[in-house]
Structure formats: structure tokens, C-alpha cells
Amino acid sequence: MSFINYSSREINCKIVYYGPGLCGKTTNLQYVYKKTNPDQKGKLISLATETERTLFFDFLPLALGDIRGFKVRFHLYTVPGQVFYAASRKLILKGVDGVVFVADSQIERMEANIESLDDLRINLAEQGYDLDKLPYTVQYNKRDLPNVAPVVNMNKLLNPRNTPSFEAVAVTGPGVFETLKNVAKQVLVELKKHY
């Protein structure tokens, strides 16, 4: 759910990074935070456990710039990836405008990816969203590791809708901004259809 404020001339949108545990959702946000100008970003908030596993969510507000005199802000959230945090994951999806699915490219994580994607579809449906209609980008993360699955195979398994997908290494940065840019663009194009 975006928030268009004519009084302060702002457009606020919510993007959620989804994916299995340890796929690199928080790392994506950390990289974006590290590489963004201080005047464009707010604090990166992480509600995490002592072992740095996401407990509830990470949050990063980004001010990208102006479109026709309106300030465009994106609020980036991650969900906790671990299976037993299902109840919390649902809550974060409330009011989402666009989703990034971060997949772990390691062959042994394929099943976890598929499970997480099913979980995403069900949780979205519970909130009244259809994954096939929502602005949606897929990221194949950890491409620098030796045991990765070919992108063609991952596309078949995880991207039947054939939405834009990006190869990434979130720790060092390749693909991170390309992913964000793509989902942000889809969100704005979607808003344009309605307003």
C-alpha cells in the first residue's frame, strides 16, 4: 500500500525482501545502506537475535529523489527467513507494494528456495495479493560460490512467471542495485496505472 501525500508532496512505497533463511536478504539491505549517500537514507534498523539472525525484520528508508516535484521514498523491509518465524513473516507483508525474492544459488538450498516461494505465495494470498500480479523481481544470490545451480534451472524452478531476474553477490555488491532498481521501477509503473 503506497502512501501519496499531496500536502508534503511525498510518495512512499514498501518493498519486501523475501527468501529462505541465510539467503542474503539482510546482506542486500546492508549493501544498499553502505553505498547510499547519507542524505538519501535513514537508519538501518535490524531486529535480530544475538547471532545476527533476523528475528522480526530489517528496515531501511531510502529517499531516491524527485519525480514531478514529489519526493519518492522507498521503505525496504526484510522478513525473517527461518521457517519457524512464519507468523512474523506474514505481518511484514502487510501493505507491500513490491517483492524481491532472494534465492540462494547453492544447489543444496534449492528445496529451501522452493519452500520459501510457496510460503510467499500463500502469505500474500492471505493478505489478498496475487504474486502473479504484484511488482516482483527475483535475485539469484551467492553467484560467487563454487556449488551454484545454473540460472536456467533456477529460472525454471523459481520464476515460472518469467519476471526480471538478476544474478548477485550481495556481500560485495554485484546485482544488488540492479535488483532494487528493477523492483522500484515496477512499483512506480504500477502506481502510474492507477493514478
Binding site: 502512501f3 512512499n12 535513514g42 522480526f56 529523489g65 519525480i67 501493505g95 502510474k192
Partner: protein
């Protein structure tokens, strides 16, 4: 997806602002602010300069969402009031009209009783304003496009420029 987008116009915004200013003065609070359930800050009043209101808004919404989850597990519809007591500052969070979150931060210059009383009064006024906003945006949606829509002439180039 944008079935529940919130579109705020100048007229309603100033009404909301007026209500928040009044609440701020009547309760002797430090800060008063309004957040939508998804974590977007809508308006604020009081000593906001040294507070990170964006983060506060997002965390407050997370707090309400988590509490709502607990409520449903217990068979309650929702818990409409949360109160956190600190050494100096206290925070009173209330859910209004199932959609908007009103937050009052106050210290010993005020009291919980006073805050609760005033929050209750202002809630009714706010519910009415938000009903008007919903009606207005549904009407505009029905008519198609908004007046002076920021998206009317938006181009791919405009979007690309955001990322330069």
C-alpha cells in the same frame, strides 16, 4: 494492489494536523504522531527534531502488528491500546479505526490518565477525517485519474533518473 492506497490531500492533512496539535497541547506530551498500520508516518506534532520519526513509525507499526498477531492467537480481535513505561519517558500507542496508529510520548509533566482521556476524544475526530479520506480517494479512483497526478506524465527516463 493499490486497492488500499492512502492518498492524502492538503485539506484533510491540515485537519489532522490541527487535531494532533490540540492533543499535544492538551496532554502536555513531548511528541504526538500518527502512523498508518503499514509503518508510514502520516503526521506529527511536538518536539520531533531529535527523534528519528521514520524509524519510530516503522517500529510502532511492527509492534502493533505483532500484538495483533498475539491477539488473534488468543481469539481476541485486537488489542487497541499498548503502553510502555520507561524511567523518564512513556509511550502510549492506540489503534484507531483499525487502520491508523496514534502514538503519544510523554514524561512526568503528563499522566497516563490524562493521555488516555484525551486520546479517546481525539480518536473520534480522527476516525471521521479518515473516513472522509477513504471516501474521497474511492471517488477519485472511480473517476479515473487524480488532479495533478504526479504520475500523469512520468516517463521511463524520470524513473531511471532516480537511480543516478
Amino acid at each position: 494492489m493499490s486497492g488500499s492506497d492512502l492518498v492524502m490531500y492538503e485539506e484533510e492533512f491540515s485537519k489532522i494536523d490541527e487535531e494532533l496539535q490540540r492533543l499535544y497541547l492538551q496532554t502536555n506530551a513531548k511528541v504526538v504522531f500518527l502512523v498508518d498500520k503499514n509503518g508510514q508516518l502520516i503526521a506529527s506534532a511536538g518536539e520531533t527534531h531529535d527523534i528519528d520519526t521514520t524509524s519510530l513509525a516503522s517500529l510502532t507499526a511492527g509492534n502493533i502488528a505483532a500484538t495483533g498477531g498475539i491477539a488473534r492467537l488468543l481469539g481476541e480481535k485486537e488489542f487497541t491500546i499498548l503502553f510502555h513505561e520507561g524511567e523518564k519517558d512513556n509511550i502510549h500507542i492506540s489503534l484507531i479505526g483499525q487502520r491508523i496508529i496514534l502514538v503519544v510520548i510523554f514524561d512526568s509533566r503528563s499522566s497516563l490518565g490524562l493521555v488516555r482521556l484525551r486520546v479517546k476524544k481525539v480518536s473520534e475526530a480522527l476516525v471521521k477525517i479518515f473516513n472522509d479520506i477513504t471516501a474521497k480517494s474511492e471517488r477519485d479512483r472511480g473517476e479515473g485519474k487524480l488532479d495533478e497526478s504526479p504520475f500523469a506524465e512520468i516517463s521511463d527516463e524520470d524513473i531511471d533518473n532516480l537511480f543516478r
